[in-house]
Every structure is written in structure tokens, then in C-alpha cells.
């Protein structure tokens, strides 16, 4: 019986899978559940119907404090990391304690890099270069070796410009994208606070996560706290329409900045990536301009982070990365490869739950923290 079933399932799956490829290309499903769907835009494939509003909650603990938020000094990465760090110091400490450079030195360094999610490919390249250097420059001192390694890592992540771009004159749209549960909504809240309080910009939030249950509520709480406006749509509605409405509102009222939230989506879901493309297209039309598309990545992410970055960059034209949750034990070593291989600069780092805890990325500090 089992075998019989298998044959039938296979057959059906095979025909359906084979046939749909052609069919899918031209499938267009109009949705436009929201008024104000921009004219001339076909609704892109959205999630299949019985969508159990899903996934992965955005990070918790957005400090439930009420009332106006104090604008304080940004904390430093190091001050936050002190308590979490001790695992790796073991390897590097071992390297330093040995006094000479031998085979176990290289093993320790390899293990140290792999252990912080730098990844096999990047680690191999870095260590091969390092071996060459050690030979060429006759480096004998392990301390010098770890210094050179740190320099190399910093070099791999060198970018001149990590600022958040803003072009005065038109409403700027900053789009936030990423997989489920990385902290997009929280990141928007923190950025909005800085933009409103420090940069004196007027902010409209677009609750473009129409998929996850209560996501818009979460963003609305942030909007109230940081004194930003918010545009919401119906749950399950077309996110592009929400972004479109937010842009229209910003243009009509002369607001500076639209911070557009999107639903978390796995980068392997082609239809959802298409949806993202459309959101970006809609946002990037006059009167507004998309001046940043920020990919939010969770520091606990392993090697899959590279695939995420690649797919999101393809679909949404990512201009920078926000690395969140770096205040745990995770080191976020995958951003070495993301910056090195994909040329996407990390612009901001999330190091805590408070509204202040989003700071500019500093490669030197980051590398120090990797090995501290």
C-alpha cells in the first residue's frame, strides 16, 4: 500500500511541479484589499491563502516604559559586551600563552573564527593569507599574529560610508526587510526615536507587516512613544498599498521620512520576495524616494545569513545591514562575509532592548568584541 501511495503522490507532484513552472510565470493575482492600491501596479503574488499569521515574533522586551523617552548618550559596544564575553578569549588566550606559533596556534585561530560564525570559506581565506604573511615577514610572536589577524578582519569590512542616506526636499523612504523574528519592528522604533529627537526629522511609519498577527499594534506603540505618525492597513492587506498611503501622507503633509516595516519572510519564498520588489517599486516613485533599504539580521544567525543577504539584496536592492541582538552571546561573525563578499556595509548594531541601544557599526570595535 505504502508503495502504491508513493507512486501516485510522486506522479501528481511531478506533473504539478513541472506544469506550474510555466503557469506560474504569468500568474498574477489581483488583491488590492486596500483602497489606494497604486494604479497600474499589479498586485504581486502574496502568501497563499490559509495563512496562519505567523511567524516568529519580533524581539521582545522593547521596554514597556511609558511617556517621553530620554535622549541619552549612545552606549558603546564594548560596554555592553563585557558581560557576555568569555568563550572565545579561551582560544585567543591559548594562542597568546603559547609563546610560539605552531600547528595548534592555527587550529586555535581556526576554531576561534569558526566559533563566531565567520564561516569556513572566509576563515580559510583569512588564515591562508595569514600563513603567507607569517612566512614572508617571519612573524614569531603570537601577539603580533593576532594583531595582524584583527587588522585583516577590519580590512575585510572597510567601508567609507556607513551613514544613513537622506536627500532633503522629498519624502525619503527607508525600507526595512529581513527574515522572521530578526527585530525589524523594534529597529524601526529605535531609528525613529533618533531621527525625531536628534535629527529633528518628521517621521511617518508605514505598518507594512500586514501578515503577522498584531504586528501593526506593536509598531503603533512605538509610534506613540517616539512621537511619529503611523499609517496602517487591514490585516492581511496589500503591504504595498500601506506603504503607498504612507508616502502620500508624508508628501501631503511635508514629512521628511517614511520608515516602512515589512513582514518577515524567508528569502527562499519567491512569491514573497516578489512582493518585496513591488513594495520597493511603489515606494520609490515620485513624490518619494527610497534612500535606504536596510536588511535586518539577527546576530545569532549562522551561515544562512549570507544566503539571506544575497537574496534580499537581489530582490530589494539592499543598501545596508542592521545587525541586531549583539548583546547576547552571539558574535555575528557572518557579517564579515556579508561585507566582504557582498559589499553590503553594516550600518547599525543593536546591543540592547532600550531605545538608545542602536549604535553605528565600528569595524574595529566589532573585531575587538569578536575576540574579547
Amino acid at each position: 500500500m505504502a508503495f502504491v501511495i508513493l507512486i501516485v503522490v510522486l506522479f501528481v507532484a511531478a506533473v504539478a511541479a513541472g506544469a506550474f513552472v510555466g503557469v506560474r510565470v504569468r500568474s498574477r493575482r489581483a488583491r488590492g484589499d486596500l483602497e489606494g492600491t497604486p494604479p497600474g501596479e499589479k498586485a504581486p503574488p502574496t502568501r497563499p491563502p490559509p495563512p496562519a499569521p505567523e511567524p516568529a515574533p519580533e524581539p521582545a522586551g522593547e521596554a514597556l516604559g511609558e511617556g517621553p523617552l530620554p535622549v541619552g548618550e549612545a552606549p558603546s559596544l564594548r560596554s555592553r559586551l563585557g558581560k557576555a564575553r568569555n568563550l572565545l578569549s579561551g582560544y585567543v588566550g591559548g594562542v597568546l600563552a603559547r609563546g610560539t606559533i605552531d600547528a595548534s596556534t592555527w587550529d586555535d585561530l581556526e576554531e576561534a573564527l569558526l566559533g563566531v560564525d565567520v564561516g569556513v570559506a572566509t576563515t580559510d581565506v583569512l588564515l591562508a593569507e595569514l600563513r603567507g604573511l607569517v612566512k614572508a615577514e617571519r612573524i614569531k610572536d603570537p601577539a603580533r599574529l593576532t594583531d595582524v589577524l584583527k587588522e585583516r578582519l577590519v580590512d575585510e569590512m572597510r567601508f567609507d560610508d556607513r551613514s544613513l542616506h537622506f536627500e532633503p526636499g522629498v519624502p525619503n523612504v527607508w525600507l526595512f526587510v529581513g527574515v522572521n523574528g530578526v527585530g525589524k519592528t523594534t529597529t524601526i522604533g529605535k531609528i525613529a526615536r533618533r531621527q525625531v529627537a536628534d535629527e529633528r526629522r518628521t517621521v511617518v511609519m508605514a505598518a507594512g507587516d500586514t501578515f503577522r498577527a498584531a504586528a501593526a499594534d506593536q509598531l503603533e506603540l512605538w509610534a506613540q512613544r517616539v512621537d511619529a505618525e503611523i499609517v496602517r492597513g487591514a490585516e492581511g492587506g496589500d503591504p504595498s498599498a500601506v506603504v503607498f498611503d504612507a508616502v502620500q501622507r508624508a508628501a501631503a503633509r511635508g514629512r521628511d521620512l517614511v520608515l516602512a516595516d515589512t513582514a518577515g519572510r524567508l528569502h527562499t519564498r519567491i512569491n514573497l520576495m516578489e512582493e518585496l520588489k513591488k513594495i520597493r517599486r511603489v515606494a520609490d516613485r515620485p513624490p518619494a524616494k527610497v534612500s535606504e533599504t536596510l536588511l535586518v539580521i539577527d546576530a545569532t544567525t549562522g551561515q544562512n545569513g549570507l544566503a539571506q543577504a544575497r537574496q534580499f539584496a537581489d530582490a530589494a536592492g539592499v543598501t545596508g545591514v542592521v545587525l541586531t541582538k549583539l548583546d547576547g552571546t552571539a558574535r555575528g561573525g557572518i557579517v564579515v562575509a556579508i561585507q566582504r563578499d557582498l559589499g553590503l556595509p553594516v550600518k547599525l548594531v543593536g546591543i540592547g532592548e532600550g531605545p538608545e541601544d542602536l549604535i553605528p557599526f565600528d569595524p574595529e570595535e566589532f573585531v575587538e568584541a569578536l575576540f574579547s
Partner: protein, 467 residues
């Protein structure tokens, strides 16, 4: 799921199998590749090292040179070790003798606890239980609201602080410990036999929050405490799991977001380091994309052997056996019509999403597995067939140009799409006919494969399928 890892192993193993004799250098080479594959899959580095060592030792001890197929031997050793890591038998829920059975979910922010809580509740309902969801994540804005929405989809009621004000011991609105305690009493009053407590996400190094979850565990005395882990987690998975285990004494792990291309090495690592099983796995956004985790099947799957058992189990649950058996006979005899196809497709659809199913099948080429099959695309295929007359369904050969345009217009596709479907159908029909014949003759030959492990029957080659 573990596809990328499987792909790598398939490559390594096909090279190993093709060698008649294995020198130790070849084994070393294979082990080095296995090491890289596992590291790329985010398996913890310490676990990788121990794994590779164990395989190496066994390879040396196995006297490969005298084995008839040394490559096969190595494959077998790797498979066994992998199964050993993932855990022998699946976790079986033992319900408390004095209900309710309490399940506590904990984890980092964004790992998917709230969604998992709803999926788990649905799963318990399917097991004939009567669960209650407790929203004890009072930290994240709107988390309670999210659980309420999901709970209503799962048909399970949700209680949180605001629902418990009538009780003699009403909890403060921001007190998850009090909420859990009161909710548990409420569950007893309501006669619920399973209680699932969703807690706020927290970092393992946040002493205050870890103390809070410890107190929640104290007052709710969970029968099962599960750590919810994102399949995309890197090397940190082990550190996190150890930290939570130290505070909560975990009974197992629930792995989420396995439907992406993350290789899920966290699963292997956590099992190896904690010695606690992976109890459930979540493989999609739908509430029913969730099931008990079967370690042995997962090992097969990592090794590129597909997870046929899970599929068959699902099929037997959902499909009408008689209809399917008849269809299969017709299929093998080449009398399978589009009508049968439509009927079977509806049966198969009951089993869940197509892409999920494809990932369980062995020998399905990567392009097909990676292709996104939206259930609405499947509906489109259905629409095309439904736009045909009965005669056309029984005898597709009569479909000429004019009939084709009519069908296309009727189902809202291009004529080329109709062609494509017909062609695909013909091709698969031809393939299946040959397959049926081959199998009948094979059955007369050797019987009974080497014992124990259920291997996939040799399946037709689908590599030409997409052309």
C-alpha cells in the same frame, strides 16, 4: 530543510561509492569534506570534531579494504553516527496522571515561540486533547494579541492577565509569574488537560529575565519544558541551549523555520551537547506545518535519502486508500487519465503544501525542490483540467488548437500553459509506465533489502522533468 547538507553529502557519497577500494587518503578526503559540510550547516564546531573522529575510528576499525563496497560502508557508518547524534527514538509525550499536562516554551527573542505555541496547541488538539494557551509574554508589545489571533485560528482559547481578573488571585497586568499561576488554576477549573505557556523572549545572559522564567517554571511545574530554537541559528545555539538548560532543565527542543534553506545544524548540535531530543519541528507558516520530530528519518534526509516514511504516514492519514490503489494500478498500466489525475491531486492536496511534500521525496532534483510551489499555482493546474470536457480529460489526444484555446480561455491561462501541462502529463505517464514494468520484474528477482533501515524504493529519475 536540510537540503543543502543533503546535496553535499550526495556529492561526497556518490564519489565514495564509485570507488572499488578506499585508501586511507580517500577516506581522509571524504571526512574533510564532511567536516566542511557540517560546519557550513552551522553544526557546532566541537560536535563536528567529535563526529568526524568517531567516523574515522570506525572506518579504520571496519577494515574497509576487505569490504566489497568500501564506499557504501563509509556511507553506512556516517548514517549511523548521524542517527545517533539526532537521537534514537522520537520523544513521546507522556501525559500527566493528574491533568493538566503543562508545557512551557522558552527561548531567545524572535525564535518563534508564540507561533510555535499555537501550532503545538493545534497538534495537541489533533491528539484528542483539550489544550489551553497561556500568554505569559507580557514584554513584547502586542504579543498577547498575536497569540489570541493565532489561538482562534487553531481553535484553542487563550488566557492572559486580563482574563484572570475574576479569579481570587488576580495577577498584575505585567506579571507573567502570577499570570501563569492563575492560568493554571483556571485550566484546572475549566478541565483542560494540556496547558501551553508562551513566555517572553529573553537572552540567556539576562539574569533578571532568566530568573523570571525560572519562577514561571516554579509556579507552573511544567511536565515538559521546551527550548524554541531558530533553525538559522549559528554556533551560538549550543551556548544558548546550555544556558537555558542550566536554569530550566529542558526536556527537549523545538526547531523552527526549517522551511528556509538553513541547514539546521543547530538541531544536531543541541541534541549532541544537551542530550535532549528535538521534540518537534516547524516547517512553514501554516499552523499545520508542524509535527513531531523523527530523528532517524531526519538522518536519512540529511543523507539525501528522503523522508519517505513521514510522507507515507501522512498519506495514509489523509488519502482514500481504495481510490488511490485503483489509480496506482491504472497508472502502472498506462490507463491513467487526467480525470484520475484531478481526483488524486485533490487527495494529495489534503496532505498539506506541495513544496513540503516534495522535500520529503528522495531523488527529486534540487531545481524542483527549490521551486516555489504556491498552492494557488496548483489550483491553476486544477483549473486547466476543469476547463476540459470529460472526453478531453479521458482522451487528451483529441485536444486540438481550437479546444486548446477554449481551455486556456476557460481557465485564464495561455494556450502554451495548456500545452505544457499536457506535455508534462504525457511524459510522466510514459515514465511511470516504464517504472511499473521495471518494478514488477524487480520484484520477481531479489527480495528483501538488507535489514532494518527502510530505504527508498528506487524511484524514477525526475531530472528531465522540468524540460
Amino acid at each position: 530543510m536540510f537540503d543543502a547538507l543533503s546535496d553535499r553529502f550526495e556529492g561526497i557519497f556518490s564519489r565514495l561509492r564509485s570507488r572499488g577500494s578506499l585508501s586511507s587518503a580517500v577516506v581522509d578526503e571524504a571526512l574533510a569534506e564532511i567536516r566542511v559540510a557540517l560546519l557550513d550547516a552551522d553544526v557546532n564546531i566541537k560536535v563536528v570534531r567529535a563526529f568526524v573522529e568517531r567516523v574515522r575510528e570506525r572506518c579504520v576499525g571496519a577494515d574497509l579494504a576487505r569490504s566489497i563496497s568500501p564506499g557504501q560502508q563509509v556511507v553506512k557508518i556516517v548514517a549511523e553516527e548521524m542517527t545517533a547524534i539526532l537521537g534514537g527514538t522520537p520523544l513521546k509525550i507522556a501525559y500527566a496522571s493528574r491533568p493538566p499536562t503543562v508545557v512551557l516554551l522558552a527561548g531567545l527573542q524572535g525564535s518563534g515561540k508564540t507561533t510555535t505555541a499555537a501550532k503545538l496547541a493545534r497538534w495537541f488538539r489533533q491528539q484528542g486533547r483539550n489544550p489551553l494557551l497561556v500568554a505569559a509574554d507580557l514584554q513584547r508589545p502586542a504579543a498577547v494579541e498575536q497569540l489570541r489571533v493565532l489561538g482562534s485560528q487553531a481553535g484553542v482559547s487563550v488566557v492572559s492577565a486580563s482574563d484572570l481578573l475574576e479569579r481570587p488571585d488576580p495577577p498584575a497586568p505585567d506579571d507573567p509569574v502570577g499570570t501563569s499561576r492563575a492560568a493554571l488554576a483556571e485550566a484546572r477549573r475549566l478541565g483542560r488537560d494540556v496547558v501551553i505557556v508562551d513566555t517572553a523572549g529573553r537572552l540567556a545572559i539576562d539574569a533578571e529575565m532568566m530568573d523570571q522564567v525560572r519562577r514561571i517554571a516554579e509556579v507552573s511545574a511544567p511536565d515538559y519544558t521546551f527550548l524554541v530554537i531558530d533553525a538559522m541559528t549559528g554556533q551560538d545555539a549550543v551556548a544558548t541551549a546550555e544556558a537555558f538548560h542550566a536554569v530550566l532543565e529542558l526536556d527537549g527542543v523545538i526547531l523552527t523555520k526549517l522551511d528556509g534553506d538553513a541547514r539546521g545544524g543547530a538541531a544536531l548540535s543541541v541534541k549532541e551537547v544537551l542530550g535532549r531530543p528535538i521534540a518537534f519541528a516547524s516547517t512553514g507558516e501554516r499552523l499545520d506545518d508542524f509535527d513531531a520530530f523523527h530523528p532517524d528519518r531526519m538522518a536519512d534526509r540529511i543523507l539525501g535519502m528522503g523522508d519517505v516514511l513521514s510522507l507515507i504516514e501522512k498519506a495514509e492519514r489523509e488519502m482514500d486508500a481504495d481510490v488511490t490503489a485503483k489509480a496506482a494500478t491504472r497508472l502502472q498500466e498506462g490507463r491513467f487519465t487526467l480525470e484520475d489525475f484531478l481526483e488524486q491531486m485533490q487527495q494529495v492536496r489534503k496532505m498539506g503544501s506541495f513544496s513540503g511534500m516534495l522535500s520529503l521525496l528522495p531523488g527529486v532534483p534540487k531545481e524542483v525542490r527549490d521551486a516555489q510551489i504556491d498552492d494557488r499555482d496548483i489550483s491553476r493546474v486544477e483549473a486547466v483540467i476543469r476547463s476540459m470536457t470529460l472526453d478531453e480529460r479521458r482522451n487528451p489526444a483529441i485536444i486540438d488548437g481550437s479546444r486548446r484555446s477554449r481551455i486556456a480561455a476557460g481557465s485564464g491561462v495561455e494556450t502554451s500553459d495548456v500545452n505544457k501541462l499536457l506535455q508534462q502529463f504525457r511524459e510522466m505517464q510514459r515514465m511511470m509506465r516504464g517504472f511499473g514494468a521495471a518494478r514488477r520484474s524487480a520484484r520477481k528477482g531479489k527480495k528483501g533489502k538488507k535489514g532494518g533501515r527502510v530505504t527508498a524504493p528506487s524511484l524514477p529519475d525526475f531530472s528531465g522533468m522540468l524540460k
